[in-house]
Amino acid sequence: MSKTKVDHNLFWNREISSKLAYDANAPIVKEAKIISLSDVNDPSNRPLNNPADGLPQGSRLLAVGGSIEEFDIEMLKREGANTIFVSHPLAREPLDRLLQEIPSIEWIHSRSAGMDFVASPTLASFQGKVTNAKGLYSSTLAEYTIMACSYFAKDLPRLLKNKGAKNWEKYNVLELRGSTLGTVGYGDIGRAVARLAVAYGMKVLALRRRPVPDDLCSVVYGNDKESLSRLFAECDYILCAAPLTAETKGMIGKEQFDVAKSGAVFINVGRGPIVDEDALIEALKDGRLKGAGLDVFATEPLSKSSPLWELDNVLLSPHNMDQTATFTYESTSFFVEENLPRFVRDLPLLNPVDVSAGY
């Protein structure tokens, strides 16, 4: 099991971390020459692509584009472009080309938390700094996760069906209090969920690559198969909040659903390909899982022919449970207001990513 090589003290959380906490008096020692690999028409990118008050001192936007054709590579090489801001969904190939052609690139920042959309061998061997938007979406996803647990605990599908049938039928509800929540992947999202779960009186078990004791969790498991099966056997609610990496791909499947505790509910806010979707559908159909709250899928948008649409024990959302009106705008602002000023002063950048690990 490889260890991550990033400094966890540099992880930033929108709710808890201080804003603008860098030393503004530290001298500016270099210029940030930025390539914005993004959609110029996306208003969320305005703080970078079209800032009303200009960029922070020492930063200069060289070019904006969504595909490699829109860039004048020679110009970028001449100018010594050193920073790439990535937010375009189809950025994988253009990013690869830019990295190969422009040797002066020393920093890549992703507007999203997930790095799987740009993962590639070129990126994996990139020697410079990579940062992302972890910690920006966690509390919204935590709210969704607890709601999904409650959705099944209070049997909302039944409630809604009864309303349609004008049926006043009292039935027993379950409490979250006293139940056990397991989280696969204990990063910022997992921790935000744990914070809420503990307030509800739930017991939290976490599974992560570096198992260290945590004040919110009763137990922290390491990332081995046996621990994963134990998690499924011991938890009433299992959350997948892991990133998609070579290690996590397909990690949850039939083997885990076979040992799931009776009445278990599975929630996925990480990435679809972590789960074997066919196995998931089977487990939902035959009752090995009581239900599932799914915000992410192997292929998005989810094909109309997927059986997931018609299962009445599935709460299905179109990868929008972190999509507030302002979240992407806030993410671009984070790059402009937090990391750009740190870069030009050669201060440690927030939210470092270990490209060899993929997250």
């Binding site: 709710e15 509390s139 919204t140 709210e143 969704y144 607890i146 709601m147 409650s150 959705y151 605990a153 209070k154 909302l156 409630l159 809604l160 009864n162 309303k163 004008k166 006043w168 039928e169 009292k170 039935y171 027993n172 509800v173 379950l174 409490e175 979250l176 209090r177 006293g178 914070r195 809420l196 307030a199 509800y200 009186g201 998005e300 948008p301 989810l302 109309k304 649409w309 018609e310 599935v314 709460l315 299905l316 959302s317 179109p318 990868h319 929008n320 449970m321 972190d322 999509q323 507030t324 009106a325």
Partner: protein, 407 residues
Amino acid sequence: MRLTVFVMHKTRQSLRAAQRRLQSTTTATAPSYTWADPARRHYKFWNRETDVTGQYSYLIEISPESLQREARILALGSDEADAALHQGPLPLGASLLGVGNTVEELQQNVDKTSPNVLFVSPNCPHAANVLPQVLQAFPSIEWVHCRSAGIDFIESEELVQLYTQRLQSSKPLQITNAKGQFSSSLAEYALMACAYFAKNLPLLLEKQQQRSWHKYNVEELRHKTMGIVGYGDIGRAVAKLATVYGMRVVALRRHPFLSRDDPYCNVVYGRDQESLHQLMRESDYIVCSAPSTVETRGMVSAEAFQHMKPNAVFINLGRGPVIDETALQKALQAGRLKGAALDVFVEEPLSTDSPWWDTPHVLISPHNMDQTATFMHEATEFFLRENLPRFLCGEDLLNPVDPVLGY
């Protein structure tokens, strides 16, 4: 007092009992328990989550030494949740004399020994009529414990008269209830209802039906304002969760000073109309957890609803009669608020022709959002293991209610 049952106690238990007795005789008031929560100023109210760490235990050791009096119990109304009461074992000094739904049934079952405790279950039919009759037929009853939290089902003019008369006599009547028993389940429901509308589940479920992948913006609960009308144990449990979500909490209760130091509320209002309107103006999510009393009936009026924010969500988990249902229905039909979640109604069960079934943007539940498989069993256990031992040992009873106030 002659005790016909011989009880063996381990030496340590007897010693502890003796110590406790010593404490209780040296202090004039009941022994002070260490409350986990310093903002709880009323030691006499019990909360299932904070006052017992997940397990029931005798707080009071009952030994032949600590026993001050017997408890001769009558049960008015009963169901299988009362099994612990019927099958026992009961604490030392307590006995169940009889069970029934009417005075006649109770008189049949009860022998000459006069009962002093009455345990009332909400499933007793016409409880409001029967209760004063029972109290008059058995004037030796000095304590009535109600298995539910709401006492509106036993409230009546006669009861108020009886209670007031007895206050002046040598044997005042004590009435206690199950406050604090159901709060955390209802708090979970309240936050779920908030999130249900914040994440726009009605739209989500509609699109799911249509197999339509339609991305839309969701709202956060963080930094929104929650207004709680009726800030008792349930209101507090809701506020506790809301605070963890990062919401701002505005509470409304009869005695705002009681919550002055409460860490879960940002502002506390009194119960005047203007304060209620102010709360409605400020809140994105309103939770009504007030009991139904003479004062609260119809309190959330048409006028109050008019002060709501256009995007507000209204949740009622207290009692139906506290709100003006017609006004709320009209507001929902007109789209003047984002939605409502109702667990309680004026008419329960709702008949099939009730307008609620067809009212849009409302989540309807059949007064079951606190109905776990064991909730009533636990309420009976609370009587058996918390209040009954206190009665037997001459200690103050928990969860006193005042029938004049209605809660």
